[in-house]
Symmetry: C2
Subunit: 316 residues, 2 copies
């Protein structure tokens, strides 16, 4: 094993392809974003990925040992096959691994975005040094990725980590998945906006009252909270509370050392994480030697491509 090994990481999204070259120490030696041009079809996108890697290697003057790809969707990680991808219509059972190996003559590894982000934070982010952790991504959906005993835990058919669909009240509000009382129904974007609407409809005075309902985003709520708006602060506090119920449950079941929180909604930072810690401590059993830390993700927008390079690294 050479110390100068370089790994390529690809974050394949519905709009853009982000790519980086990463050293084994986690240093990004080159990075680039190009449009995905998914309307060009599967082969076109795969060509763009291989071109992108070749160009990055030329510009950095280096060779790559292995390529990792992260994508939102159902992935057969063992075979590097993309079974289904919500943001890439028409991509079903695409043998991404085979196809890119043919183009690049390099080993290819693939996993879903949640697992990839978890591995990235574990190797070069907030989870560095722990053995068992969960990454939670707060956005439209609430995603989860598990690192157990230092490795991505995928479960029996590759679909582990669905933290967002843990029922925390069988009679709770309806979730996007159609079930009741999932964590996502409380702290996914829709859940947060629903609770905001409920608060405002009670006539509470708030900076948020001036924003049209259909234009409101979690960002407006964070900004109002930072200005001291009590309604907004309370909404984020409750978001942390429900997140904490879920993390406490996972802590009881899996005795993790850390939960790392990322995704756009988590930009509210301590306004969510503070209450989440409090509720987690409340839900988690007090057992000697057992502590779970809750930290913000460190890799931000780069989580996808850096994590993808990490799955490449974990292969060789």
């Amino acid at each position: 094993m050479s110390k100068n090994e370089i790994f390529a990481g690809i974050d394949l999204g519905g709009t853009n392809i982000k790519a980086c070259l990463l050293t084994r120490e986690g240093e990004i030696v080159a990075e680039r974003i190009v449009g995905c041009e998914k309307e060009g079809g599967v082969d076109h996108v795969l060509d763009r990925i291989s071109d992108l890697i070749n160009k990055l290697c030329s510009s950095a003057g280096c060779r790559v040992s292995c390529v990792g790809i992260g994508v939102a969707g159902l992935v057969d990680a063992e075979k590097a096959v993309l079974l289904e991808a919500p943001n890439l219509p028409g991509w079903r059972d695409v043998e991404v691994g085979c196809e890119l190996k043919r183009r690049l003559n390099l080993p290819i590894k693939m996993d879903n975005d949640a697992n990839v982000a978890a591995l990235g934070e574990y190797m070069f982010g907030s989870g560095s040094g722990v053995k068992n952790m969960m990454m939670v991504t707060l956005g439209t959906g609430v995603g989860g990725g598990l690192i157990l005993e230092g490795k991505i835990y995928r479960g029996s058919s590759g679909s582990a980590g669905e933290f967002g669909h843990m029922t925390i009240d069988p009679n709770g509000p309806i979730c996007s998945c159609g079930r009741r009382g999932c964590i996502e129904a409380y702290i996914g974007t829709r859940g947060i906006l629903r609770r905001t609407k409920e608060c405002l409809s009670k006539g509470s005075s708030s900076l948020l009252s001036g924003i049209r309902e259909e234009e409101m985003t979690p960002k407006h709520i964070s900004e109002a909270a930072e200005k001291g708006d009590e309604v907004a602060i309370e909404i984020l506090r409750k978001t942390g509370y429900y997140l904490g119920v879920g993390i406490g449950n996972v802590s009881n079941l899996l005795n993790l050392e850390m939960a790392v929180i990322g995704g756009g909604v988590s930009n509210a930072g301590e306004l969510i994480l503070g209450p989440a810690r409090e509720k987690t401590m409340d839900v988690a059993l007090e057992i000697p030697g057992r502590v779970i830390e809750i930290k913000s993700a460190q890799l931000g927008e780069k989580a996808g491509m850096v994590g993808a390079a990490c799955i490449a690294m974990s292969m060789v």
Copy 2:
């Protein structure tokens, strides 16, 4: 590795010590129960364990490769130290591994009863052939043990598997642990009896009405349900329902192939497991290739000693 290797399994309880000798194929070649005589103190009990193993070996005319011990309590499995045991007052930080190794000159392995039972069912019970499973023990408490990737999963400080204290309603009834809405608050013995009392106090006609409140046990409820008593059937149905919420949550998070249900309360069988399956399917996300089976435990009363022999087996 000899095909004729024999492993000793010890189920150390507050009343009895159960021991067996097990082949690598899971055949019990000898077994015996003696009183624990815990009032004699730690050394006395450890002497009884080593005598018991020696006697079993003499009577069966064989030698043992390794000894495994299962005990209810907090165990440091790596060091084979019993940190705390609710049924063995005064046993704190007892180096059971060292002490028995000194007496028997054999490698000793120890774990808590939930992990040991899970491993037993995984190796020689209902979970045989799966990779990822959870064992749930329904009794006074609701215990859990996880087998992930074919091994006991203990978590970062050895206390994973607390399925019974998963919050399924933050505003639910108070649990024995002091928290609200834990699964155990619904389906632990106390929870089941509380719900029974609530039903009967509404004046529902039931075979259970004739039983004095302080004498009622889950067994009365199973018996009444088997006789067609509707109140009893409904109580067990709801028990299955809450169990199913929990198993569905774990399925979403861990993508297990199986949940194995044991413990005294589970003797009600399909009256609980049927509704549990239904609710699990409802809570678990529908993802292609993903199914979780719910089965009764097979090892019954022998789960402790057989599972303990299994942890010995997994050592060598």
